[in-house]
Amino acid sequence: MASEHELATVLPEHVALESVDVNFGSVTPVLSAIDFAVQAGRFVSLVGPSGCGKTTILRLVAGLLEPAAGRVRIAGSPRIAYVFQEPNLLPWRNVAHNVRLPLELLKVRRPEQEQLTRESLELVGLQRSDWEKYPRMLSGGMKMRVSLARALVTHPDILLLDEPFAALDDMLRQQLNEELLRIWGEQGWTALFVTHNVSEAVFLSEQVVVMRAHPGRIEEVFEIPFAYPRTPELRGEPQFARLAAGISQRLRESAR
């Protein structure tokens, strides 16, 4: 069955994957029988071993990939933005022009482009003095902030994040996790976040989806009970540690 990015306003879910199969080439299955839904405004993380198809799910939701079977249902006509694992900035554009790129592609009017770009840069905490810099002059953390600003500049309804902080050191990763939650709290987009880091997934999400590989399947969905706003102290609480350990245990079992 073909993929349908169709209007489905009657669904309570913002994003739904129904019996989705994806194959690599014509035979090798990447994802098999994926049934999975995300309600509007929720923060959901996908964790699992390499090759379990986490990124493939994001690509399906983004409409960059068609399933071999099943369908992808997206409610309404949402704006979807994507933060890649690498910042993937254009080296020939300065920070502000990189952030503005999606608006240019969407043919947003110039004065509006300027305003949205400024707001987005301020939102992710980039100093005005950095706006004219080229990517080669930025640190890894700053590049990732620019990448995040570029994704947020269109005011997305759904934000797909593919291990955006994987290459950063732990301190910076935690800081950016907190900032990401702050922005999500302010803007309320639906978040699908891919990570290998269980602690990061638990800290950020309302729901953690554990996957297994060969072929990619959903193993279990964990509800995360902690209320927002979440503070850094949460990471030190016994219940947080127990939950993270339980998810890690499930991941290990699924890898056997």
Binding site: L90, P102, L106
Partner: protein, 259 residues
């Protein structure tokens, strides 16, 4: 600038002086006949009284080479842009682009004379033909070697084909264009001199190709060397100018471009 002088100018200059010295000593010690290998002093003595002729010939050849080079960058980039639009176009046309690289220019020079006549225009066309291929291959590579995630980003935001070409493919190809242009700059000098062999300007106003062509059979080896050194100097200047220009453009975007 200091670093460029220290790393890019001084070492080759020192080596050049060392070669000149060894050459002078070898010719003197082994008493080599001047028609076989003139000493640097003899080359300088031959060049000095004819310096204005040599300078003019270098300027004439330089003008032909520069024009051919600029034409090859323009035409090569446009061809690459067409090639980048479809795999079918590339596979259909690429063998004919290779033809530019493999065809002996002596074989097509008479055709060019027939079509365009002798003189500057034909020299420019020959210089262009010889230097076209590296521009086409490099720019085509730059236009099609795009990070798949950037393609995804453009697709996600519903970019038009024109957007992809203007905002992604062309800027991505600029470092490749610089690389192709650096190769082409040296080849254009070769092309201009070869062009002058076959379709030159005549004795009244001539380039280095003319001097090389007539000095050789007359065993004026010192003049031959002077013209050869002038053409090598021309090639180095073209290459260095292209490199510096490329570096100036790319320095803002990339770490240590063209090292």
């Amino acid at each position: 600038m200091k670093q460029i002088l220290r790393q890019g100018v001084v070492p080759p200059l020192l080596l050049f002086l060392l070669v000149l010295l060894s050459w002078q000593v070898s010719v003197t010690v082994f008493d080599v006949p001047p028609y076989l290998l003139p000493s640097p002093k003899a080359v300088l003595a031959a060049a000095t009284p004819r310096s204005s002729e040599l300078f003019l010939a270098t300027a004439v050849t330089g003008a032909g080479a520069l024009s051919g080079f600029l034409l090859s960058v323009l035409v090569g980039s446009l061809i690459a842009l067409v090639f980048s639009q479809s795999r079918v176009i590339r596979s259909s046309c690429y063998p004919y682009a290779i033809f530019l690289q493999t065809v002996p220019i002596v074989a097509i020079a008479p055709l060019i004379v027939t079509w365009l006549g002798t003189g500057f225009r034909s020299v420019v066309v020959i210089a262009c033909i010889i230097s076209l291929f590296p521009v086409i291959t490099n720019v085509t590579t730059g236009l099609i070697t795009i990070d798949p995630l950037l393609k995804d980003l453009f697709q996600l935001h519903r970019a038009t084909r024109a957007h992809v070409v203007i905002k992604l493919q062309i800027p991505n190809a600029i470092p490749y264009l610089v690389t192709g242009a650096r190769i082409a700059s040296g080849l254009a000098v070769v092309g201009a001199i070869v062009g002058e062999f076959f379709v030159g300007y005549g004795a009244a106003q001539h380039g280095l190709g003319y001097i090389i062509l007539y000095a050789g059979p007359q065993l004026k080896t010192d003049q031959l060397f002077a013209a050869t050194i002038a053409s090598a100097f021309l090639g180095v200047v073209m290459f260095a100018a292209t490199t510096l220009l490329g570096r100036a453009v790319l320095a803002r975007w990339y770490e240590a471009p063209l090292n």
